[in-house]
Point group: D2
Chain length 430, copies 4
């Protein structure tokens, strides 16, 4: 019977050694079976931080260990919650499954890939959970509608807002794991905050995870960690330089395919994407092994644009960058000068923009719940009303942009006037 | 000759194992001789964080290790600076000595002690350096006016503003050490920031230590660490409850002495302070051994007020506290009610106020220099003009206050009306 | 009823922040009440590592935090054990109380003090638990014979050998805490081992804590940590140089007292010990505050021997030392030469010997149980039969000795022949 | 001129953030140019620990970061050595280059690959350094014979034994980095030792790096770390189960190729290896991208043996294992029974043997120098003559073996007698 399977405990607890949480503990048969599926194992072949290893060489960890980490945090939250009436332990396996699977739809180099191929990892997470997959089979053994339930927790539409907020909110298990983990594997201090303390001050309520007022400072620290990680790590321009190359590479490959170009090694697993007719199974085949294989093959392609860009990516010959404040006019100036110098601006100039809010609960369209404090007298307050420091940073919407270009090509421009003009423009920006 | 002594190197480098900096390295004879003086060794007998061990039991580290730590940070800064023309290596031993000695005038439980006895540890630092001490003898061997030079660095009056800013500014070696150290010994994460990174982005200029613009985020992280440490650790109300008791104890002891009370064990080393005629040598005798000895003796004194307060301190029977927002009126209400109940408000009620600014460079009267960034193009900018997050928090002047009282005495008030009134008032506040 | 008190849970769990275990959790009223007793609070005034701060300046932590740590480890073991039939949860509060109180009889500078005054901290632990103390009152509220039970666990005589082995065996909570803690506070890596792993492989049996065979390597690592901590930290000759001074000081003070010497400040709290008539209450008054107070006072005594030794201790002017391999003959040579030079050998020469076995289960007279592995097939094996590396080190009984002497006095000997002879002898030894 | 290039310093020091060493510092143009070569960048695509991620999921770090780490350690050693006459700073760039490049010949899954294809990563390291590569071009700019010098340091044949011992000895930069690094990335404590201390006690001599006698305990700790890492991590049977599958896969693929089998996707980059005519350039193309691509493709091959084994590897369906003590007879018994049951023993049974010596200096044929201590009096002693603990473990030659098999196939054997016989045999072994 399904209900038996839902509650089935492993004879021996299984553990994974993990540097962030010391150990990840698995006691449920459902979770163990999910981990063993090929769709979940595939996450070992997708880096958590894409091209960040270009900037932080040791950032080589996978989405597999992150997914285990999110699961482990939710497991600990549930363990704490079991002493409260507000928590219904019947939701345990739902929360654990959603935590484990929340990133299962990620593909290789999602950021650039999605831009060119109009895919969406959140949609794929849903399709993998609901489609004809090993994960779906495991979940169905719990109950017929269990896959749908898990998917709707991940997409914020499940009616149980408490479980949703554990997986996805301003202070969810996802963020709590990745800040710590990415901090550990890059070797920086910024992402460290007192996770033990945060877990201790979390309280279940009907609609969300509340934070005991005494935990306010721990939340402040966590939000500042998050802010620092974004600006120091995730937005690192060297890493984004890798994404820039990938975006141009995918764009060129698609363009070539559409123009009938004959690849030396036809990228058969990408063709459904070129033709915009991919299925979830086409998507699941893609991982960094496949993608890197094509990228390495393309270093030997006949098309100079593609082979040069691929060589740049594979052998880390990145574009240089300058801060780029305004927009259209200057970019146009560069484009005109590049064309005059015989350098195709389409594949040699790229503007990369990014922004973040340290605490973004009231961004229009934000699906994430704000952080609520529970006072001793039972009153509930949104945190920026109570914390002066969070109030101070709530309004901030920091933005930045960089212009990327191939430095050695600029230096090699024969025409002195054009080269000097470009170099002067670049100098002004930096 | 003095100049020889100034540059004299130890035959073998000496090292101290240190959990924060891994090792503290000593190569100069002057530094080694300073460490061996009895005035510096005395710092082993004064806790870095006073009564904080009441709240964080493991905060038992001394000012001795902190002083070594500040020295070690300055040693590393100087090592980095030696590659710059702006740094005159002739100031090396001045910077190192000032770093080592910056806290040498601290006494036991400075906070409460200074309040009652009108002493000032900064003044004593100066007197110890300039007076008839072993430290003074060592410094004089460098040159006749060297003690004066070291003292003036510590008191911000030395003409070499660069050296002053290494020891005392918004981002000085003192703060960099104590945030890390206090974090380590209390066991919290809040005080951790990337000190290696900060040291790498520090650049000497004529008037101050500048921060390379690329290090802005590291400074943001450091300032947030500082903010968190103040509100989570240094202002912890349980620890301040220890200070409250000490303040009342010192006040009572002084009052008793002045009224001719006969102590069972006359506190001979405090008498110069009671009589306001203390010398630097009287001050140097005081340390936590002496002070705790009297506190322990006083648990057996005949005066009930003193013995009760001493017993509370020694055996950690702290007052309770409630947040205390307004001021005079409520306090008066409590006082009136306490008097009616036969509880002396003078020794049973205490309001403790504290405040801090996360980044306080423009506080009127602040002696500390602001933090200046050095841009690639050579421009210098005050950091809050560049960092949005620092700008956001610069205005903040956070304050708090607590009212302390002996809970069990309140609960034991016989008169139901008065007891209930007090309990209601306390309840309203909490 | 007592049984109610035994099981009484605190309304809100109390926690202590702790750098080693992250948090120490208290949920039992009994434990909370024990922590609040004055005898337990007294442990804050006794350093865990005595004079080790002479060698490792940051080793300033107290027996208070260690005692909490041992309690926390036992609490975790009990939590794990609760799933096994072999564990009787009725023994929970016994195990926790014994863990918390196992060191309560330690006094200031136990090592040297016990040598001169023939006291024994284990005996005092028993007397404090059984005598007229606050601790005894709390324990008695559990049941009339509960103090006796707790005391007998600590003295290895309790019939429940499983509980005894948790507190005191080759791999007990005491050692597991102090290795980690002393490592943390000195700043060395040697004492670190995988405590999470060890806790996971511990299994209760009727007579002892067993180790799952799969945990054998973790035990190897723990034993090597222990070995390293002894030889790198605990036996550090600079630290033992502090103990040497204390031993000579106590000896001299006692000698002076017995000879009718008039102390400027009569050391009233030591007199019962001088007269060999001390009670447990005399003992409880002693702590490092009292002892350091006398040591500091004695720097000003008229007796030159005492004041010089006290000055050496207070201001860290330690004796030098050389390795000292054989025994009687050389020591005699030194003594003769010292006497000729007018230096009293009794207070200027000291031989310090120490030894340790990395794994000492079969030492004749050892009260500690060996470590037993539980194989998958249920077989039980003593660990050195299975682990080659433990077998290899089991036989080792490493010894060392040092000879301490005041270097500057030797250098100041006027008689060239004698001075040279002594220096040559010292040189031969080093 | 070449000599200029050898000493050429970068205008701005470059740094890599690194979790193990905090930062890796590069100041030499030669080193910077070597890092940028495609052969060095290729190391990003080869995991440091091969299939260990099957057992420790977070062990995903590459040989690239390890190589930088070894370089950084040697850089620090050289910095320390510069104060000694025994060190000739002319060897600096030789030591740094050899450190950086010592592993450049490693390929994907070296262990299994080398077994089947008779390749040797040490030989390829040499060929990459001496052959027609970007690395060779950079090295040649130093001097014509510089590539040969670097190669001979790595192969222990360089006449400068001091530099050789820095890169490869019982206590070399290679081991010091990988123990710490593998410990960090797996999340275990075993590999931690006091590297700062070890660096401080290293002294250059004509023929080797000596260890000051006072550092003996740090070496003991390091050797025990190494022992623990081998038995706890590197020999983990789950990880070796991955290697077992790879060995069988490579063997099958080669067999198929030799038998004329038509691969759906012909593994063109492996064909030179199948035909035993590979060049260094064929070798350099191989990395984990290529290898994993074939492994993933082979899950869809027509040959059942290959596709099943590939599926097991890609989706982590590992063989089970039992301890396997004796040899021939039992293995034969299993083989006979497997054949009777219709399971091909050649691809379904595998014996894996491994062994290590904690300190193996005197193993016949060992190219590694023993560890020598330098006593204060200048005497040099092999460490096991002085350290009892190292003497105790020097003789140990620990061995182990496991038998791997597909558990579910055994359970599915229809013939009850055969199945039971096999299960009984397995049970006896475990």
């Amino acid at each position: 019977m399904s209900s038996n399977y839902k509650d089935l405990q492993l004879e021996d607890e299984k553990v994974f050694k993990d540097p962030v949480h010391s150990y990840v503990h698995v006691t449920d048969q459902v979770i163990w079976d999910l981990i063993k599926t090929k769709e979940f194992q595939r996450l070992r072949r997708i880096k958590q931080l894409g091209t960040l290893y270009f900037a932080f060489p040791s950032a080589e960890h996978s989405r597999f260990t992150h997914s285990l980490g999110v699961y482990e945090i939710v497991r600990k939250i549930v363990e704490n919650f079991s002493q409260y009436d507000e928590w219904d332990n019947d939701d345990r396996i739902l929360a654990l499954s959603a935590a484990l699977l929340h990133d299962v739809g990620h593909g290789p180099f999602s950021h650039s890939f999605e831009q060119i191929f109009n895919t969406d990892h959140e949609m794929y997470t849903k399709e993998i959970i609901l489609g004809n997959t090993e994960i779906n089979s495991v979940l169905k053994r719990v109950s017929e509608d269990f896959p749908e339930e898990v998917a709707s927790v991940i997409s914020h539409t499940h009616k149980n807002k408490l479980v949703v907020s554990m997986i996805s909110s301003q202070i969810d298990a996802d963020r709590m794991d990745y800040l710590q983990r990415d901090s550990y594997f890059t070797g920086v201090e910024y992402g460290k905050f007192d996770i033990d303390r945060l877990l201790r001050v979390m309280i279940p309520s009907k609609n969300e995870v509340l934070i005991k007022e005494s935990g306010m400072h721990a939340v402040e620290d966590y939000l500042m960690s998050r802010y620092q990680m974004y600006w120091q790590i995730y937005f690192h321009p060297v890493s984004r330089g890798g994404e820039v190359l990938l975006t141009l590479i995918f764009k060129r490959a698609k363009e070539l395919y559409e123009s009938g170009y004959e690849f030396k090694q036809p990228p058969k697993y990408l063709i459904p994407f070129f033709e915009d007719r991919e299925t979830v199974h086409d998507y699941l085949i893609l991982d960094e092994t496949i993608m890197n294989f094509y990228l390495q093959e393309w270093t030997g392609e006949m098309d100079d644009v593609l082979s040069e860009l691929a060589d740049r990516f594979v052998n880390r010959k990145l574009f240089k960058f300058v801060p780029f404040y305004d927009g259209f006019l200057t970019k146009l100036e560069f484009e005109t000068l590049f064309e005059k110098a015989g350098i195709d601006p389409e594949y040699n100039l790229f503007t990369d923009r990014y922004s973040d809010m340290p605490y973004d609960y009231d961004r229009p369209g934000s699906k994430r719940q704000p952080i609520h404090l529970l006072k001793k007298n039972g009153e509930i307050r949104e945190i920026s009303e109570v914390s002066e420091i969070i109030e101070a940073i709530t309004g901030l919407h920091r933005k930045d942009a960089k212009l990327y270009y191939p430095k050695e090509k600029v230096l090699n421009i024969k025409d002195d006037t054009i080269r000097t003009k470009i170099l002067n423009l670049l100098n002004e920006l930096s």
